[in-house]
Amino acid sequence: MDRVEKPNVAPVLAPGHSVGSITDKIASVILQKTPRWWYFGFGIAFLLFMLLQLALFVLFVKGVGVWGINIPVGWGFAIINFVWWIGIGHAGTLISAILLLLRQDWRTSINRFAEAMTIFAVACAGLFPLIHVGRPWLAYWLFPYPNTMGLWPQFRSPLMWDVFAVSTYATISLLFWYLGLIPDLATMRDRAKSKVAKIIYGVFAMGWRGSVKHWHEHEVASLLLAGLATPLVLSVHSVVSFDFSIGIIPGWHTTIFPPYFVAGAIFAGFAMVITLAVPLRKLFGMYDLITERHLDNMGKIMLATGLIVAYGYAMEAFTAWYSGNIYEWFMVYNRATGPYRWHWYALFLCNIAAVQLLWIKKVRLNPIYLWIIAMFVNVGMWLERFIIVVTSLHRDFLPSSWGYYKGTIWDWATYIGSIGLFLFLFFLFVRFVPMIAIFEVKTLLPEAKGRSGNE
């Protein structure tokens, strides 16, 4: 089949590469001397991670009273951050699973670090439900295990569904990532010079030798895992949205939540992929592997999901009005005029207005503009969860029970600290693990097909 490619579309892989040069390029990121900026970035991430430790220490000593939560707003930053992080993870699975099934070959060079991003984001997300339970040392009560109290969890509760969805998601993401890493770990084993590195990469490569039989099974396994991860990723954020929509609070009790949450998750996730990809591309000079085509496509996906999210906002307000339910309609009115109105306007600016710039091709192809828009979306999606959690809770049915919520310094320390944990893990990842899938990029080369490979 001849590929008809318009000349103004950048290629997925810049010309001039051979099988060997791809290995050299990606492996050299790990094998070279640690660049100075890495120490600098890692140092900042480490300090923020220490801030998280401090915030958790204070929390464990004093209890959830150090946070701003109160009655009526019993869900504060912990849930906002949980939903924000788990949403970010979704783009990694979309890239690694859904785009694999759709045979989008541009995914290959951003796939590996997007999956790593998923795992680290899920790790940050998983932290929050555990620490917000009040008695975190009893968090294992969430899991069904035979106990002397004769008690079992309530499987009809969305909060239990969450436990299963998130732990399954974390497990499957980790397995998928590791499966894809095995051949590249073998490459690192064969290229590493120091004995220690050889042994460590060797242990994790599990004796992979590139046998055609193994490759065959590896491809089948990847497709199967992609097929499993696709419905899984859609289910995870749907289940997260059930935490809200099964409740009867105005603004939560709506059927649009599952698709709206999933679209928002992919929107937020692509923003984070761009946030990470643009600096990585520059710092490691990966212009030939992460080309303009990638920037363009990621910008387009962000625009498309952003429009779905905007539609979600519109439908939320329309349904509130059309239902004729005064509590629902008051919720919309309160968002627009109540004490959190500036959050709501900022949300529109970040998630709807800023994203419209992506209609312009020049903006999509410019890494700096794209990165700035992605930062707007990162902030906007956090604000969205803030609006959902806080505005619905702080003024419900009875004016006598209305209240006001504000994060305390420990709320912010935990949130910023979790970003530190994420960056800390990510810096370690780019230093020790091939951040682009070496073997997958090689399959993009014309010579990888073999002589009779013209299907």
Partner: protein, 175 residues
């Protein structure tokens, strides 16, 4: 004397490896395997890897997961710890669907990965091919074909001659 594992030939492109593998297969060699830095479908077909048992393993693991998830919810809520909420039936199965779904995916996913390791015989701490100092390049930019000594047609000199036509280097590998 060391026992011989087989004859290993090194190629500098995948197309010459494919041609050599085709020729060896047509002669009748079956105990052979190729080692490449990336997957290639054509090569898998030549070497006779058309099907995989993994999908079946996944299906079985997934079904075990379905039964486990549904069974757990049913057993807990109907048998072990029945609690009446608002007069709703104890076996309120629609509420068990999300957990059943998640355990299905979890078991199937673990099944894929464990099945993959089992079929491939990984982890494998030692393999004779790594005795060849250049074999490490199979994960970089070189392509290898090994005809193993336990193939019924195996004859060291003839195999070396056959593979030598296309290969850049041919050696014997010991256990």
């Amino acid at each position: 004397m060391n026992r011989v594992y087989g004859v290993l030939a090194e190629f500098d492109s995948i197309s010459s490896l494919i041609e050599a593998a085709k020729e060896a297969r047509d002669i009748g060699f079956r105990k052979m395997d190729a080692y490449t830095p990336f997957p290639n479908e054509e090569l898998a077909h030549i070497l006779g890897y058309h099907k995989s048992r993994l999908p079946l393993i996944t299906l079985i693991a997934g079904l075990i997961g379905t039964v486990t998830g549904a069974g757990l919810c049913y057993w807990v809520h109907v048998i072990a710890y029945p609690l009446n909420f608002g007069g709703k039936p104890l076996n309120s199965w629609p509420a068990f669907v999300p957990i059943t779904f998640e355990t299905t995916i979890l078991f199937a996913g673990i099944g894929v990965v464990l099945g993959f390791f089992a079929i491939c015989g990984l982890p494998q701490p030692y393999h004779p091919l790594f005795n060849d100092p250049r074999f490490g390049l199979a994960s970089n930019d070189r392509f290898f074909l090994c005809i193993e000594a336990d193939d019924p047609y195996y004859n060291e000199d003839k195999v070396k001659q056959l593979l030598g036509k296309k290969a850049v280097r041919v050696t014997t590998v010991d256990f």
